[in-house]
C-alpha cells in the first residue's frame, strides 16, 4: 500500500513542482522573506512580519489552491480509480503529492534568504523553528480542509466559496467571536471553555505557538493572552504544538473517509 502511495506521490510531485502556481508561491515567499530582511535588519521584526504572512496568507493559499486542484483533477481522479488502485491509496497520493511541493516552496522560499543572513537569526532560531513548523502544519491542515470541501461538494463555485469562508472564519472571525462570547458571559467562570475554543482553531494555535516565544503578550490577541495566562510558557508551547499536530489528522481523516465512500 505504501509503495503504491509513493508511486502516485512521485508523479503528482513531478506535475506540481512544474506548476506555475507552486513556482509563483516559492518566488513570493522568497521575495517577502528577502525584502523583510533587507529593509528591517531586526530578526524579531522580520519574524513577526513573516508570522503575519504565514498565518493569514498560507491557509488562504492552501485552501483555495487545494480546492481548485481537486476540482480540476476530477476526470484524472476518475481515470485513476478505473485502475486497480484503492481509493485511500489514491487519496493519500494526491494529498501528499500536493502538500510536499507546497511545503518545499514555503520552507525554501522563507528559508533561503534566512540562511543567507543566518547571523541575524542566531538568537531567534527557536522562534524561526516555531514559525516554520506553524507554516508547514497549516499547509497540511488547510490542504486537508480543501480536499474535504471538494469531496463533499460537486459544485466548484460553491466549494470555492466554502473554502474562502472557512479561511475567513478561522483566520479572522473566530477571535472576534470568542471575545464577544467572553464579554457577554463575563460574570461566569468560562476560562476553560475559552481554552477549549482556542484549541479548536488551528490558526490561533499557530499564532500562539510563535508569539509565546516572543514574550510579548500585547501581540497575542485576546485568545493568546488567556492561553498563556492559564498554561504558562513551556506548557503552553507544548500544548499548542501538540494540538496543532493533532489538527493535521482531522481534516485529512475526514476527507479520506468521505472520499472513500463517495459516488464519483
Amino acid at each position: 500500500m505504501i509503495r503504491d502511495i509513493a508511486k502516485i506521490i512521485k508523479y503528482q510531485m513531478h506535475d506540481n513542482l512544474r506548476s506555475k502556481w507552486i513556482i509563483g508561491l516559492f518566488l513570493f515567499y522568497s521575495a517577502a522573506s528577502y525584502w523583510l530582511i533587507s529593509f528591517s535588519g531586526d530578526s524579531s521584526k522580520v519574524l513577526l512580519s513573516l508570522l503575519n504572512i504565514t498565518i493569514i496568507l498560507n491557509p488562504l493559499i492552501c485552501i483555495v489552491f487545494g480546492t481548485v486542484y481537486f476540482y480540476n483533477n476530477k476526470n484524472y481522479i476518475i481515470f485513476m480509480l478505473t485502475q486497480p488502485v484503492n481509493r485511500s491509496v489514491l487519496f493519500s497520493g494526491l494529498y501528499f503529492g500536493l502538500i510536499i511541493p507546497l511545503t518545499l516552496s514555503f520552507l525554501i522560499g522563507i528559508g533561503l534568504p534566512v540562511i543567507i543572513n543566518l547571523n541575524l537569526f542566531l538568537d531567534t532560531l527557536h522562534i524561526l523553528s516555531a514559525l516554520l513548523y506553524t507554516g508547514v502544519i497549516q499547509i497540511f491542515i488547510f490542504t486537508g480542509f480543501s480536499f474535504f470541501i471538494a469531496a463533499i461538494n460537486e459544485d466548484k463555485l460553491k466549494g470555492l466559496g466554502i473554502s474562502i469562508f472557512i479561511w475567513l472564519f478561522f483566520g479572522i472571525l473566530y477571535d472576534g467571536l470568542i471575545l464577544f462570547l467572553l464579554q457577554i458571559l463575563q460574570d461566569y467562570p468560562i476560562e476553560k471553555i475559552a481554552l477549549g475554543l482556542i484549541l479548536a482553531n488551528p490558526v490561533d494555535l499557530g499564532r500562539i505557538l510563535v508569539i509565546i516565544e516572543f514574550d510579548i503578550s500585547a501581540l497575542m490577541g485576546y485568545t493568546g493572552a488567556v492561553f498563556e495566562d492559564f498554561f504558562g510558557k513551556s506548557l503552553g508551547t507544548f500544548i499548542s504544538f501538540l494540538s496543532l499536530t493533532i489538527w493535521f489528522f482531522i481534516p485529512f481523516a475526514l476527507s479520506l473517509v468521505k472520499f472513500s465512500k463517495k459516488d464519483l
Partner: protein, 235 residues
C-alpha cells in the same frame, strides 16, 4: 462475463437504476444505448467501482465486486473525456499506469504505433490536442491486454482515420475473445461493431438482444429507426 443482479441505484429521490438483471456475454461486443438520463453512465460507473452506494450484486469474471480494486486489472477503460496531470509528459502517463498495474512486459503497444504516439511521448499533456489525448487514452485502455474493455463514446473527438484504426482494433480484440462494452451515439458505429444491444430506458432494460432481433422486434426497416422507435416507447 459480467453478471448483474437486482441492481438498484438512486440519487436522493431519483431512481436511476430500477432493479437491473443482466448478463453481458463473454467475447462479444455489447452496446449500451439509451437516451440521456437513462442510467447508462451510472451503470458503467458502478461496473468500474466509481459509484459505490448501490444495492444488488455484480460479478466480473465470476468474482463479486465488493469494494476491492484488484478486479479492475482485468478491465481496460477509455473515458469520453480523458484527463491527465497537465505538467506530466505522455511518457510519464504511460509509466504511471504501468507502475500502478505493476506490468512492464507483455504489453499491447499496437495503438501507440498506429497512432504515432512515439513522437508525442516527450510532450507535456497540456500541449496536446483533445484528439491526441483520446488516442493516449485508447492506447492505455488496450495496453495491458485486459479481458474486458469498457469504452465510453470511444470515437468522439477522433479524426476519421484514427476512428477507423480504433474500430479495427476493437474488432481484432473481439475476434481474440475479448468482452467489449461500449456506448456511442453514432448509429453507423453501432451497425459496424455491435453484436449485442442493451437498451436502457428510465433505469430499466427495455431490450437486450442482437441487432437483427431489435429490427424485427420494432418492425422498422433500419437500425436508426428501430432505436428511435424504442426511445419513443413504441416497442
Amino acid at each position: 462475463m459480467i453478471t448483474i443482479s437486482q441492481l438498484h441505484k438512486s440519487y436522493d429521490l431519483l431512481n436511476v437504476l430500477k432493479g437491473i438483471d443482466l448478463k453481458i456475454p463473454e467475447g462479444k461486443i455489447t452496446y449500451i444505448v439509451g437516451p440521456n438520463g437513462s442510467g447508462k453512465t451510472t451503470l458503467i460507473k458502478i461496473l468500474l467501482g466509481l459509484v459505490k452506494n448501490y444495492s444488488g450484486r455484480i460479478y466480473v469474471n465470476g468474482n463479486e465486486i465488493d469494494g476491492e480494486s484488484s478486479y479492475r486489472s482485468q478491465i481496460g477503460y477509455m473515458p469520453q473525456h480523458a484527463s491527465f496531470p497537465e505538467n506530466l509528459t505522455v511518457k510519464h502517463v504511460f509509466e504511471l499506469v504501468k507502475e500502478l498495474r505493476n506490468r512492464y512486459e507483455d504489453l499491447d503497444e499496437e495503438l501507440i504505433a498506429k497512432f504515432y504516439l512515439s513522437k508525442e511521448m516527450n510532450k507535456r499533456v497540456k500541449t496536446l490536442s483533445g484528439g491526441t489525448l483520446q488516442k493516449v487514452s485508447a492506447a492505455l485502455a488496450f495496453l495491458f491486454k485486459p479481458s474486458i474493455l469498457i469504452l465510453d463514446e470511444p470515437t468522439a473527438g477522433l479524426d476519421p482515420v484514427s476512428s477507423s484504426i480504433l474500430k479495427d482494433k476493437i474488432k481484432t480484440e473481439n475476434n481474440a475473445g475479448k468482452t467489449i462494452l461500449f456506448t456511442s451515439h453514432i448509429v453507423s458505429e453501432l451497425e459496424d461493431l455491435a453484436e449485442n444491444i442493451i437498451f436502457l430506458l428510465d433505469g430499466n432494460i427495455y431490450f437486450n438482444g442482437s441487432l437483427d432481433n431489435l429490427i424485427v422486434h420494432t418492425g422498422e426497416h433500419n437500425l436508426e429507426r428501430s432505436i428511435a422507435s424504442v426511445m419513443l416507447r413504441r416497442l
